[in-house]
Symmetry: C2
Subunit: 321 residues, 2 copies
């Protein structure tokens, strides 16, 4: 275990340090740092504090937030358009609980809104590295920021929902502690913000939420000038799978001439697998897919049909060692 880094600055999640729902390069920096400095960010959850351990589906149906609350922006001295901001993700600390939820179909969010007339909610107890689902199912935690990015060059307000060239709502589950994100800088000082932390997420985040949780994130900034990136990149020490080693997986496939259709088919088959073989409700199955099932593009060249796989780590179930 590496020693804890020296923290140069702390940023709380008080209103003055948080912007909600938009990227905007005219926002005043809440902090200015030098390259090499370390900041510990307090980040609200995606619901902006509207859900707690006693919340019910009714609270979800009121749609708890409109866009992500992000802590920042932080100005990094010396970062200029054309540079790359490197963000070393040093550590994460959750606060003991999290939520996974989805909306009824009419909200048109998530991968399968057409399949679900009602919404769903699971409130997770988070204890150390484990999140508790139903029926003894335990999902290993490996936290990361759903949203990590810098301000876009285009003036005005931009929704935090879609990711962009400068990052944002990437939802890359491998941006865990020990990883480094590389973000293309488009404005002076980069104007970095972070939030929407997930305790765990499957590749795809299919129901539209991971394990949404308020969290502390400690990062170190640097600036490099010899690289021209078309989109964010990152390095990671893994793990690729939740347990970081060989493990039994069960996988469904979707085969179709559009990747999105193949993805939907693979996830639908996994929902059937989870309900028929593991006794979950359909809503539970959808949420478990969103936090623990990984989507891979098995092949994208066997025209006209592509293969997408949905991978379930079987060790999350109590009856499997």
């Amino acid at each position: 275990m590496a020693r804890s880094p020296t923290i140069d600055y702390h940023l709380s999640d008080r209103d003055a340090n948080v912007h909600v729902g938009v990227w905007d390069n005219s926002l005043e920096p809440v902090l200015t740092v030098e390259p090499g400095e370390v900041v510990r960010f307090e980040c609200r959850d995606a619901a902006n504090g509207a859900l707690d351990v006693q919340s019910t589906l009714d609270n979800v149906l009121k749609k708890p937030s409109n866009g992500h609350p992000l802590t920042g922006p932080v100005r990094i001295e010396g970062a200029s358009p054309g540079d790359v901001l490197t963000v070393d993700l040093l550590s994460f600390q959750h606060k003991g609980f999290g939520t996974t939820y989805f909306y009824p179909g009419e909200r048109d969010a998530g991968l399968l809104p057409m399949d679900f007339d009602t919404g769903g909610l699971h409130v997770w107890d988070l204890e150390g590295d484990v999140g508790r689902f139903v029926d003894g199912i335990e999902v290993p935690l490996d936290p990361f920021p759903g949203v990590i990015g810098v301000a876009p060059a285009t003036p005005g307000e931009h929704s935090t929902i879609p990711p962009r060239r400068v990052g944002g709502n990437l939802d890359v589950k491998h941006l865990t502690a020990g990883s480094t994100a590389y973000l293309p800088v488009e404005v002076d000082g980069a104007l970095f913000s972070i939030g929407d932390c997930h305790g765990a997420q499957g590749d795809g985040e299919v129901c539209v939420t991971g394990i949404e949780a308020p969290m502390w994130v400690t990062v170190k900034f640097d600036v490099i000038s010899d690289r021209d990136l078309s989109a964010p990149q990152f390095s990671t020490t893994g793990p690729y799978s939740p347990f970081a080693a060989d493990e039994p997986m069960y996988a469904t496939t979707g085969i179709a001439d559009e990747l999105m259709v193949a993805t939907r088919e693979a996830v639908r088959a996994m929902i059937v697998h989870l309900t028929d073989r593991h006794g979950l409700s359909r809503a539970e199955a959808y949420m478990l897919c969103s936090v623990a099932v990984d989507l891979k593009i098995n092949q994208v060249v066997d025209a006209p049909n592509w293969t997408v796989g949905a991978y379930l780590p079987e060790r999350i179930f109590p009856d499997v060692d």
Copy 2:
């Protein structure tokens, strides 16, 4: 290490045991087996023997084959439409060499035909569990059948190129030794065929070939009747990553409102990474992506932009431990 299974039947790759380029439920079975029996198949490579260790790009440009040579079909007694054929993949043995190749853009094959005016070829020495690329790069082998399937119910000839509900050219890299494939049966006796073995492949198989290699494959058949599958499924003990454990990865992302576009962008960025940072030619980089870079759907819900990641295991390079 498990003991070798008892082999009930051997099938050589002689012409009488091979059908090329088509699935057709009127093909006569070359063998009939009972559930529980084990067959060792000799499988030709995708080029149907047209390439060897002395082949050059000229041989590739003549397009070495039209569709996959498959060993089979094997009739499994008792398998009926509506059943599921289980295929335990027991072992694989290559024959010491393999090829990876792609065609010039006008052939319109692979993920990025528009980016490559010329084709490419790499002939691999296969030694035990390792395939040798250029510059000391070694790709770990974990063989699987690119094509594994049963005959479709629809009469007539069907190209082996696209995968279907009954399987076929799935190109799922995780169908390795120790895995089990579940295939929906559509005709009496299932009529199973197998071939197109790959020594290794990245998720995506982006240049259109993996490490194409003639190989022996040993499988055990069974039939189950209590499951209704919309597409093939499988269970696997991994590994998810080539080294089956935490390892350093470098990843590029593609962000776009179509998954195919995002996939192309991620792979293009990885090709730039491999040429700029590792000194490969563009053709080498494209082929290395096809055999060792994994594509994941990071998120498919942050409308209107999806995130696709391309993951490079850094341990394949000689300068990384």
